[in-house]
């Protein structure tokens, strides 16, 4: 076995409600949506209006500044509503599906027969290009650039995250086809980063022409940004692209079948789900039919998250699965007071520090809620972030550089290497309850504004 990158820093938050490895059958969702807010920094330009008929793969909106990057409907049906927020910002483009699905035909082709330009053009037309993201910054890749390599993390280490080996097990053909297309995008290597703690699925290991890297350790070992840091750290001027494995499969289907088939396997998890299971759904599906009759409490006492508890987006109980998400988490809201909470022994509280009695119970699982567990303060405690960020950078100083809007310092302290998910645990453990992820995004936005993508 090749060299294993051992990640030592990090934290696995032991949450209740891991999905059992069983598929649950679910009917077609009643609505689907594509959400421009899922894409960092995107200015959307609508291509449809309410009432328009669309097929699976028909454009709904595009990037105003890069019209070739389009975002397409995952299903065929009728555009039901364009939901807008403050200042008419487009939040969701909602499509009601037909009972019989029709697909736009992009033509089945062997990726090996196509040039890089043809592959990019096809991916853009079908709306799968946004699945290719770039580092630095974690935004949709610019098709006019060429990355020095591409990384795919084949395991997810986030709390309650789905077992990707389980989710890809019947998709070997599509995965191989997707990889072949992606290989054309770079002159460098395509890296598949595997978990060294168990034998990974054949779907990953049988792929040809890629580099395998092995990782072990606690979350965030599965984050592609952490993996890149340990293989080829990003410095100024470097460009690396990343794709998620379930998205590789969707890209693969485009080349095998010529259609945008956004079907993926997601996990429904969390302490408040009665039967946490795996479901086969399409990107953007409404979660209402998978969560209804499957909850332990009334929906108004719960938080529904598209994604994991550290980085996911809060949605309504009939909200929509995010474009990049492959799990839904349901946890209790924490909007209640706790008498002398700071003094409680804390049998049911989880902390990185050893200040609660729960540390004495090995393997205990927790049903954590959304309370902030304290007030926001200036930084007092030091060294906490370092314990959960397995990167050779100084996270607190990076955050402070961002707050001071000091671009030179942000650059030298490593802002090119991190996106929100990599520092989400820093936010979780922070005693001072600092909003690390949103500060980091402000810093990244500032970098893009000042220096360009």
């Amino acid at each position: 076995m090749p060299k294993v990158h051992k990640i030592r820093k990090g934290l696995n938050i032991p949450l209740k409600g891991e999905a059992e490895k069983v598929f649950s059958r679910v009917d077609q969702a009643e609505a689907y949506a594509v959400k421009p807010i899922d894409f960092q920094g995107l200015t959307p330009k609508l291509s449809v209006k309410e009432g328009d008929k669309v097929k699976a793969g028909s454009p709904l909106f595009s990037n105003k500044f890069r019209p070739n990057v389009v975002f397409t409907s995952p299903v065929s049906g009728e555009v039901f509503m364009v939901r807008r927020g403050e200042r008419r910002k487009i939040l969701e483009v909602i499509v009601h599906p037909d009972t019989v699905q029709e697909f736009e035909d992009f033509g089945a082709e062997q990726p090996s027969q196509l040039s890089r330009e043809q592959i990019i053009e096809k991916m853009q037309r079908a709306g799968v290009w946004p699945m290719v993201k770039q580092r630095p910054y974690g935004i949709i890749a610019n098709p006019e650039e060429k990355p020095k390599s591409i990384h795919i993390s084949a395991f997810d280490s986030a709390p309650l995250s789905p077992d990707l080996d389980f989710a890809v097990k019947d998709e070997a053909e599509a995965f191989q086809a997707g990889i072949e297309a992606i290989q054309k995008l770079t002159d460098g290597k395509v890296n598949i980063n595997l978990n060294a703690e168990y034998p990974p699925s054949n779907v990953f290991t049988k792929v040809k022409g890629v580099e395998f890297n092995y990782f072990s350790g606690p979350h965030p070992a599965g984050n592609v940004g952490i993996q890149i840091h340990h293989i080829e750290p990003i410095f100024k001027g470097d460009l690396i692209w990343t794709v998620a494995p379930l998205d590789v499969i969707i890209i693969g289907r485009l080349f095998l079948k010529g259609i945008y088939d956004a079907t993926k396997i997601i996990a429904l998890t969390g302490s408040e789900v009665q039967r946490p299971r795996y479901f086969t759904v399409k990107t953007g599906a409404s979660i209402s039919n998978i969560v209804s009759n499957n909850l332990t409490q009334p929906a108004d006492k719960l938080r529904f998250i598209s994604g994991d508890v550290l980085t996911g987006t809060s949605i309504a109980d009939n909200g929509f699965l995010g474009f990049y998400d492959n799990m839904v988490t349901v946890i209790p809201e924490g909007n209640h007071y706790e008498f002398l909470g700071w003094a409680s022994p804390g049998i049911n509280k989880f902390s990185l520090t050893r200040t609660f009695l729960s540390k004495l119970i090995p393997d205990k699982k927790f049903a954590l809620h959304t309370n902030l567990n304290g007030g926001e303060r200036a930084y007092v405690v030091t060294g906490q972030y370092d314990k959960v960020l397995p990167m050779n950078i100084y996270p607190v100083h990076l955050i402070k550089a961002i707050l001071a809007k000091d671009i030179d310092k942000m650059e030298s302290l490593g802002i090119y290497e991190v996106v929100e998910e990599d520092m989400a645990l820093c936010e979780y453990v922070c005693t001072s309850k600092t909003e690390v992820q949103s500060i980091l995004r402000e810093g990244i936005d500032l970098m893009i504004k000042e220096l360009g993508e």
């Binding site: 410095f235 998250i305 946890i331 804390g346 200040t355 902030l372 007092v380």
Partner: protein
């Protein structure tokens, strides 16, 4: 607790914007959040948060200080009994100690919290918990005979000049409790040094029986009266004169155990401070030209405020180095300089306070170099990676 919560919810509007008692908003909020963890939920970013908050952190530190406080109370009475030749029965001396120590604790908290509440109100901030620890540290590092008005003055000085002018807890450069002590030391030296201040009522002329001097072991050592230094066991257990909370290395070790076990205090700083002190001690042993230098190096650890400073003062995260490598350097130099000052500077028998304050000032510089080294290293690594590909 429901009725209490209902009561708070009922009176809450008075303290909010436009309410009759708006000027007490921060104070009210301080008490409310003390009684109840707020019902505020996460809005963005991570949906769940660690159970720890600053209140819990500070309470753990206060807990860690309790053994030193309790021992200090007992020892105040015990030393007084020794000095006057009174019987050393447990309860009378504890009561005597309580009568001496409790007022100092109360004054320190009242003055400090009062000022903090005022500043929080003016700044429209929440009240920060930092003073919970400072307010306990100040009584433990002053001599028992200190007049209460001096405690009040020093506390006011350190909270205003040492902390609030920098922006409050988290922004200060110098350890607030030590700054209070330094203020007293330079403003009222006669109350902070000498042989008569460490035991209660000695300065008032309450009879000293023969054979009792009132001098601290450090003073003995500085005067080269090595034979007068108490036994190592007495010094370790703390049956010696000194500042209220600093005498018992054992009680401080219990505190250190709590801090390190819970992960609140940095073991790196504690260990490196001890290493620094020992290193200097061994250097002195090797080149000894006077009895103080000949004293076994490890004696420094159980004399004076070394242990207390290493465990409770140097580890203050706000004023210490913030990088993990920096913490090693920071602690090591504290120990080194403390022993150096003790042995070579006749004006200051105790070097711990000054060495920590000095390193507080240097901590940002240490961090700067540690981070610059990291930046250089990462640049090099990236350059090497670029070459290979």
């Amino acid at each position: 607790m429901k009725s209490l919560r209902n009561f708070i919810d009922k009176i809450k509007p008075n303290f909010e914007k436009g309410g009759k008692l708006e000027i007490f908003h921060s104070t009210f909020e301080g008490f409310e959040t003390f009684l109840f963890v707020p019902n505020k939920v996460t809005q963005k970013g991570s949906h769940i948060r660690d159970a720890i908050d600053l209140k819990r952190t500070m309470i753990i530190v206060v807990l860690a200080l309790v053994p030193a406080l309790l021992f200090g109370i007992w020892n105040v009475g015990y030393q007084h009994a020794l000095a006057t030749g009174a019987p050393t029965d447990f309860w009378p001396i504890v009561l005597f100690g309580l009568g001496k120590v409790l007022p100092i604790v109360v004054v320190s908290y009242l003055v400090g919290l009062g000022i903090e509440f005022g500043f929080a109100q003016v700044r429209k901030h929440e009240i920060n918990e930092g003073f919970l620890v400072t307010g306990m540290l100040i009584p433990l590092i002053v001599p028992v005979d200190i007049p209460l008005w001096m405690v009040a003055l020093a506390t006011a000085f350190t909270v205003i000049i040492g902390k609030e002018v920098f922006g409050g807890t988290g922004m200060n450069i110098f350890n607030p409790a030590l700054l209070a002590r330094a203020f007293l030391f330079f403003a009222y030296p006669s109350h902070m040094s000498g042989d008569y201040v460490w035991v209660a009522n000695l300065a008032k002329g309450e009879g000293i029986i023969d054979g009792f001097s009132g001098a601290t072991p450090l003073a003995n050592a500085a005067a080269y009266e090595i034979d007068k230094i108490p036994s190592s066991m007495d010094m370790f257990l703390g049956f010696i004169p000194g500042s209220i909370g600093e005498t018992s290395t054992l009680a401080i070790l219990i505190g250190a155990f709590i801090l390190v076990l819970t992960g609140i205090g940095s073991w790196k700083i504690i260990v490196s401070t001890v290493l620094g002190g020992l290193t200097m001690g061994f250097i002195f042993n090797a080149f000894a030209v006077n009895p103080f230098m000949e004293m076994p190096a490890w004696h420094h650890l159980i004399m004076g405020g070394f242990a207390f400073g290493a465990v409770f003062m140097a580890t203050d995260p706000v004023t210490a180095s913030q990088t993990e490598k920096g913490k090693w350097i920071y602690g090591f130099f504290i120990g080194l300089l403390a022993v150096l000052v003790r042995v070579f500077n006749p004006a200051y028998p105790e070097g711990m306070m000054l060495s920590i304050l000095l390193l507080n000032a240097f901590a940002p510089l240490i961090d700067h170099y540690v981070i610059q080294a990291n930046i250089k290293k990462r640049k090099k690594r990236a350059a090497a990676a670029a070459k290979n590909s």
